[in-house]
């Protein structure tokens, strides 16, 4: 049998063999885009912040070295950063999930405090009668449900009444804090908590302890699992797919017959549930009771984390660790350099603005887009 040289099958396989690395490179290139642009943004932000430090007459080198020492330079520092990152994982999801639907929810703080109060409230009558695991699970469920109801209020008001969800979620957070104060200073108050009104403390045996071998509580694991589950939900399920369509174009989604109201209600409820769970973890792993310390700003820092992670649930994990590290190092920077706490806020703000600005670079570099590698007419800026 003679082989024809111009047999299309043979020439095709030859091409395939020649370019067998291309699919892998292309896959890598697409995945590299957000990583490279975000890292570039971080470095640009740090460079800008260095200028700010120089105007104060302080050395950026010392500061960055302290940031490394305080946030990441030793096992102690890493655990310090992880502890601070744990609640941010959950509160960032409260922003990131609705963002995939095109909603900007900034009132996660409200779900955190009410989730904490609900968890403490459900635990009180059960302590001493029910097994520890049951109490903790019920606390988590209570925190999740109450946080979910709270944030879904903002989502449903948006869908059914046209109320701006950003404003309503923020205002709901103020109401939530007022409600928490009302409960903690009123019906749920432990009479022994004279000058710091709190619910009755959980006995030590009912507390969520530390992860074995670490000095970081179980909230970290809960947060990481929640991030992974959220990623699966958004990227691999039809629910997530529908949510992304609705986030891209509500009208198109409605014309396709997607239940937009249910999607919004469901996803904001899950998002709020995670923030409520963060409140439960604060009570069960840190505070031991619900009190005003629950309103520590985790809900607000979560906004920063979610935006820096571009609302990607998996990216939340490294970003929360990074911000936890900055917070951990912030103390050392105050103590060693004599700078006020506001310095760290300036750094966070600078990074936030620069990274948001870097959004405009997406699609502008052909190296990240394998479809354009062979086209000669591609010009920068024509994505």
């Amino acid at each position: 049998m003679t082989v024809k040289v111009d047999d299309p099958a043979i020439s095709l396989s030859a091409t395939r063999r020649r370019t067998s690395l291309r699919p892998l490179l292309g896959w890598l290139a697409r995945r590299a885009e957000p990583v490279v642009i975000t890292l570039g943004g971080i470095f640009a932000g740090l460079a800008l912040f260095s200028l700010f430090l120089l105007t104060l007459g302080k050395s950026p080198l010392v500061l960055y070295q302290l940031m490394y020492t305080g946030g990441f330079g030793s096992w102690f520092s890493v655990q310090n950063s992880l502890s601070r990152a744990a609640p941010l994982l959950l509160t960032a999801l409260c922003v990131a999930l609705p963002a995939r639907l095109g909603l900007v929810i900034i009132g996660g703080e409200g779900a955190v405090v009410l989730g904490g109060v609900a968890a403490a409230a459900i635990a009180l009558p059960l302590v001493g009668t029910a097994p520890v695991l049951i109490v903790l699970v019920l606390m988590a469920v209570a925190g999740f449900v109450v946080g979910g109801i709270w944030i879904s209020l903002a989502g449903l008001l948006r869908h059914y009444r046209g109320v701006n969800e950003t404003i309503s979620s923020l205002l709901l957070a103020y109401i939530a804090i007022a409600l928490m104060n009302q409960f903690v200073e009123g019906p749920l108050r432990d009479p022994a908590s004279l000058n710091k009104p709190s619910t009755k403390p959980l006995p030590a045996g009912y507390m969520l302890g530390n992860i074995p071998g670490m000095e970081v509580h179980w909230g970290l694991v809960i947060g990481i699992v929640a991030c992974i589950l959220s990623w699966v939900l958004i990227e691999m399920t039809s629910f997530g797919f529908a949510a992304r369509i609705a986030g891209g174009n509500v009208r198109a989604a409605q014309i396709q017959g997607l239940p937009v109201g249910k999607l919004i209600g469901g996803l904001t409820a899950i998002a709020g549930g995670f923030a409520g769970l963060a409140g439960m973890v604060e009570v069960a792993a840190v505070q031991g009771s619900a009190n005003a310390s629950l309103a520590a700003g985790y809900g607000y820092t979560g906004i920063l984390v979610a935006f820096l992670a571009r609302h990607n649930p998996l990216a939340i994990i490294p970003v929360a660790f990074f911000l936890g590290g900055i917070a951990a190092a912030g103390g050392l920077i105050q103590r060693r350099m004599g700078l006020p706490d506001a310095t760290v806020l300036v750094l966070q703000g600078t990074l936030f603005i620069v990274i948001l600005f870097c959004e405009t670079f997406y699609g502008r570099f052909r190296i990240f887009n394998p479809d354009l590698w062979d086209t000669g007419d591609f010009k920068m800026g024509e994505a």
Partner: protein, 375 residues
């Protein structure tokens, strides 16, 4: 411009060099050796160090230590009452070599300071507030606090001589015993001069909530109050708002006279510098630190701001006379017969509580003459 730049560059080089030295691990050896002689003390504040209030009062106390030989002070501000403060304490112990830590916010005690005290039994912790109990809390922890309601009583005396409307006002954070003591003492001080005076109180619900503090102050002035004081973490907003509306003010926590020179009568201030330097001297002398210390005006835990230009001579005399009685000891701010503002007798006739009376620590009422409600 070039000068400025070169200055910056020089600073930059100096600080970089220092940083490089500190960064090199061998520095640790020197640090260890140094630790034998120097005592590193950590201060943790819940708000900013320059808040003209609670945190500034502590930071001024810490600043007093910086002048002492053999003491290194490390400070951290804006530390929330969460796992953050636990990690801050650990960071001070592990990275700075702190041997004595003053977590100054009330909410740092339980569970945060207690957890760290159990983990680091060789480190001493002293907490601002009266929470420490023998046999219940670790011996490397303790409490210190002051009877600052004495200062609010004296504030009330100057207020009484200054008010024309016979209405004075109080902006309060939360209806908890420490705050109620101050409100009641302010009114009782004023009524010791003129029993017709009433005090309107507004609770904001939060320790630090500038907008509500301004609203409350404006509401008090609108209702006719012409002397205002407060108990919130930072009195800055209350003092500036009240003075801006033409009312007189009495300060709290720290000295706010720079904010309202003409309108500032006097103020009840903490004198933490005394308390902290006593602790340090005891530590340096190798003595065991006390676990529970409290004091008032005469013990130097509390002081009064210098009297302002709005205080009349008669007021000054009455103020000095009562202050002298307090300094001598035995003066009771809370004595019977005393009714609360619902008409219930809360202290029987003939009974007089000293400032350290246990009954005062669970105060849950507003006295007759205070307009407002605890719930």
């Amino acid at each position: 411009m070039t000068k400025l730049l070169s200055m910056n560059r020089r600073n930059f080089l100096q600080t970089s060099a220092a940083g490089a030295l500190a960064g090199l691990a061998p520095g640790l050896v020197a640090n260890r050796a140094f630790a034998q002689a120097a005592l590193t003390v950590g201060f943790i504040y819940v708000g900013p160090k320059d808040d003209y209030g609670y945190n500034q009062a502590h930071a001024e106390g810490a600043a007093a230590l910086k002048a002492m030989a053999g003491v290194t002070v490390v400070e951290e501000e804006n530390v929330p009452e969460t796992v953050d403060v636990q990690k801050t304490m650990e960071s001070m112990i592990n990275l700075d070599g702190a041997k004595l830590i003053f977590p100054t916010s009330f909410g740092y005690f339980d569970p945060h300071m207690l957890a760290m005290a159990a983990k680091y039994p060789d480190i001493q912790f002293r907490h601002c507030g009266g929470l420490w109990q023998k046999d219940k809390h670790p011996t490397n922890t303790g409490s210190y606090f002051g009877y600052i309601f004495q200062g609010q009583y004296l504030n009330g005396i100057t207020a009484a001589y200054t008010t024309k409307s016979k209405k004075i006002g109080f902006v309060a954070a939360k209806p908890i015993p420490q705050v109620l003591q101050n409100i009641n003492a302010f009114l009782l001080g004023a009524r010791s001069v003129d029993p017709a005076i009433t005090c309107q109180v507004i609770f904001t619900g939060e320790w630090s909530l500038a907008v509500k503090e301004a609203e409350a102050t404006n509401a008090l002035v609108d209702q006719g109050a012409d002397v205002i004081t407060c108990h919130v973490d930072s009195p800055k907003v209350v003092v500036q708002t009240a003075a801006g509306r033409g009312a007189f003010v009495c300060g709290y926590h720290a000295n706010q006279s720079p904010l309202a020179a003409e309108k500032y009568l006097t103020g009840a201030e903490w004198a933490w510098g005394n308390v902290y330097s006593t602790f340090i001297k005891e530590a340096q002398a190798g003595q065991a630190l006390p676990n529970f210390v409290r004091g008032g005006l005469k013990d130097g835990f509390v002081k009064m701001s210098a009297l302002g230009p709005g205080v009349s001579d008669t007021a000054r005399k009455a103020f000095e006379a009562t202050k002298a009685q307090m300094m001598a000891g035995g003066f009771s701010v809370f004595k019977g017969p005393l009714k609360d503002n619902k008409g219930k007798q809360v202290i029987d006739g003939g009974k007089a509580y000293a400032e350290d009376a246990i009954e005062l620590e669970s105060m849950d009422y507003l006295v007759e003459g205070v307009v407002g409600s605890t719930a």
